[in-house]
């Protein structure tokens, strides 16, 4: 079990010796990682570093081969996806995954619903209108709230999915390359949104876009070959010779 006790702030997430192996290939290899409550952390790393696998483990999509993942003191490796979601982890996927045939309003209602079992959903009475309206405002979709979400532009879909994750009111938000395919202006607005969310959520961002990383980052973690390479402020990480080596190395190969 974990021995290192948190000192100043409470740790919301603790990962020890996490290994995920797919037919012998180790996507994550003995990873140690932790997040403080209220932290905004950016995880970077070259392709194949294990960033998305990390999120897969955190959301129950992938079962680890070895290791321990504690979220608010509970072991996530034994829970199913929906249980983890209800426990308070929300995930924004790399490519937007919204319900295309439902409109933004319905997409948000579905995520906002406080009681997600079958019969409360069928018979429960709930008034989510005000919350939906407020969220639509936040994600700038007030005027497109009644068209099928499949017809939104790529950036709008990304925003809608961020809105859906916020609607779940998670304690920990996982954002997987949420500005991919966005215009510069949209990216900047997303950065501001994340900054404001960081005031009362713990956020883990996976990102490739360095301009964006610089905009939002407080503390950066670099993954390489499934393990932790280094951690620190954006400037520290940027100037770390190992990080430069890893990125340039992967560029040479690519």
């Amino acid at each position: 079990m974990l021995t290192a006790a948190p000192i100043a702030t409470r740790q919301i997430l603790q990962i020890q010796d996490l290994t995920v192996s797919f037919d012998g290939f180790k996507a994550l290899n003995g990873l140690n990682f932790s997040l403080d409550e209220g932290e905004l952390r950016v995880v970077i790393g070259p392709n194949g570093a294990g960033k998305t696998t990390l999120l897969d483990v955190l959301t129950g999509k992938v079962r680890p081969t070895k290791g321990c993942v504690l979220f608010k003191g509970k072991d996530l490796t034994k829970l199913k996806e929906h249980q983890i979601s209800v426990l308070g982890i929300g995930r924004k996927f790399q490519t937007p995954r919204i319900y295309q045939n439902l409109n933004p309003r319905e997409n948000l209602e579905l995520s906002l619903n406080p009681h997600k079992e079958v019969f409360p959903t069928l018979f429960g009475r709930r008034d989510l209108r005000d919350k939906v309206d407020a969220l639509l405002e936040t994600i700038h979709l007030v005027h497109k709230d009644r068209i099928p979400a499949g017809l939104l532009s790529h950036g709008e879909k990304q925003w809608l999915e961020i809105g859906m994750v916020i609607a779940q009111d998670p304690d920990l938000l996982l954002l997987d390359e949420c500005v991919a395919g966005m215009t510069d202006k949209e990216t900047e607005a997303t950065g501001e949104l994340i900054q404001s969310l960081a005031k009362n959520h713990t956020i883990l961002v996976i990102e490739h876009d360095m301009v964006f990383v610089r905009q939002i980052a407080r503390k950066v973690t670099v993954l390489h070959q499934g393990a932790l390479l280094c951690e620190g402020s954006f400037e520290e990480v940027k100037n770390d010779p190992r990080v430069i080596e890893v990125y340039l190395g992967s560029h040479k190969r690519g």
């Binding site: 979601s85 319900y99 579905l110």
Partner: protein, 381 residues
């Protein structure tokens, strides 16, 4: 990007292109009004204009439309393509068939038993003396069988084409089992020669009309039930499960319960349909569990238009009328026609008749409006 599954958006949504811009409440009132109108038409007008023979056919096909509603619920809305609804249909049919077979003077057992030297009524027949038990069993037995089957399959995350194959395999198992049980339920011959229900002759004109009206009321009930399930948040989740089931888990829902519930409801509806159909045809046999019949049911829904409940009813009635008309005049041609229908739906009408009316019909309407305006302009000039 994947093209939208269907142009259908669940109720309460009006896009600018639509002509009628009603509030959700008014839309619901309009729908209720139309439903009442259709009911009155079916109960009071059709019996006056159709011959007894055609009216009886209409009654049967309306019974079949109840299965179609269930299929629409699980396939059109939830994305579970079941090729085994015939099983549940037959279970409902058998439940009522057993009750009807037991309308005998005290101490006697249905005649077919003597063929196989059975002298005592098998134990599981006894509860079917009671009409209340039978009425509940018609819905509940198929629903329970579906819950058990559905839970085992869905819990293990078996979906898509694998789900379809499993349901079809189930159909074959049930078919073979029922075919082989001469001593219990008259095997391949099924149950037939029913005479009375509530001590009334079921072949009298009055009773036939009463059964016809009951069928219509059950269609209406089934429609309202499916409408209730597919609207509101519950219905949105069904659509979400259809479009991206893994994503639904990350939204915090366990899809298993939702899928098992609608599968059970669809099975229960199939049971009711089977009972009403048996009452009107006077026979229930393992043929109702044959693979082709279950596939036909899916074709009705595909032709009418899945993800629109009204499409399921229209599809069931139209395809069956086409079948009966065509097989009356050209008995050989029906299967070709059915194959053609299926091709037509796959190639030209992926969303069925109702889906076509929704998309193309609207476009044609716009074109017609433009043409009329142009005509008006030229006549002015």
């Amino acid at each position: 990007m994947k093209v939208l599954h269907s142009p259908h958006t669940p109720d309460g949504i009006t896009t600018p292109a639509q002509g009628l811009d009603l509030s959700p409440r008014n839309k619901l009132l309009l729908e209720a009004g139309v439903l009442m109108g259709v009911l009155l038409l079916l109960i009071f007008v059709f019996p006056a204009v159709l011959s007894g023979f055609r009216l009886n056919l209409l009654g049967r096909f309306l019974a079949l439309s109840i299965v179609a509603l269930g299929i629409d619920l699980i396939w059109g809305y939830t994305g579970m393509l079941s090729l085994g609804q015939g099983v549940f249909f037959a279970l409902g049919g058998y439940a009522l068939g057993m009750h009807l077979s037991l309308q005998l003077p005290d101490g006697r057992i249905p005649e077919f038993f003597s063929l196989y030297g059975v002298t005592e009524l098998p134990w599981f027949w006894r509860p079917f003396y009671s009409f209340s038990f039978t009425a509940i069993a018609i819905f509940l037995i198929p629903a329970l069988v579906a819950s058990a089957l559905g839970y085992l399959v869905v819990r293990n995350r078996i979906r898509g084409v694998y789900f379809s194959i499993l349901t079809q395999a189930t159909t074959i198992i049930f078919f073979n089992f029922f075919n082989g049980q001469q001593r219990l339920i008259n095997g391949t011959n099924g149950l037939t020669s029913f005479t009375t229900l509530f001590d009334l002759n079921i072949n009298s004109a009055e009773m036939r009309f009463a059964i016809y009206v009951a069928t219509i009321l059950f269609v209406a009930l089934a429609y309202v039930l499916c409408r209730y399930l597919t609207s509101g948040l519950f219905g949105r989740i069904l659509v979400a499960i259809r479009d991206d089931e893994p994503r639904v888990r990350f939204s915090g829902y366990d899809p298993t319960g939702f899928k098992v519930l609608v599968f059970a409801v669809a099975a229960g509806l199939a049971g009711i349909a089977g009972a009403l159909f048996t009452l009107q045809t006077g026979i229930i046999s393992p043929n109702a569990m044959s693979v082709p019949f279950s596939i036909e049911m899916v074709i009705w829904v595909a032709v009418g238009g899945r993800s629109s409940l009204i499409g399921a009813v229209i599809g069931a009635v139209l395809v069956n009328f086409a079948k009966s008309l065509l097989s009356e005049s050209f008995p050989e041609i029906w299967l070709f026609f059915q194959g053609g229908l299926f091709l037509l739906v796959v190639m030209v009408l992926p969303d069925g008749l109702v889906g076509w009316v929704r998309t193309q019909g609207r476009q044609l309407w716009i074109i017609f409006q433009l043409w009329r305006r142009r005509l008006a302009k030229t006549s002015l000039a």
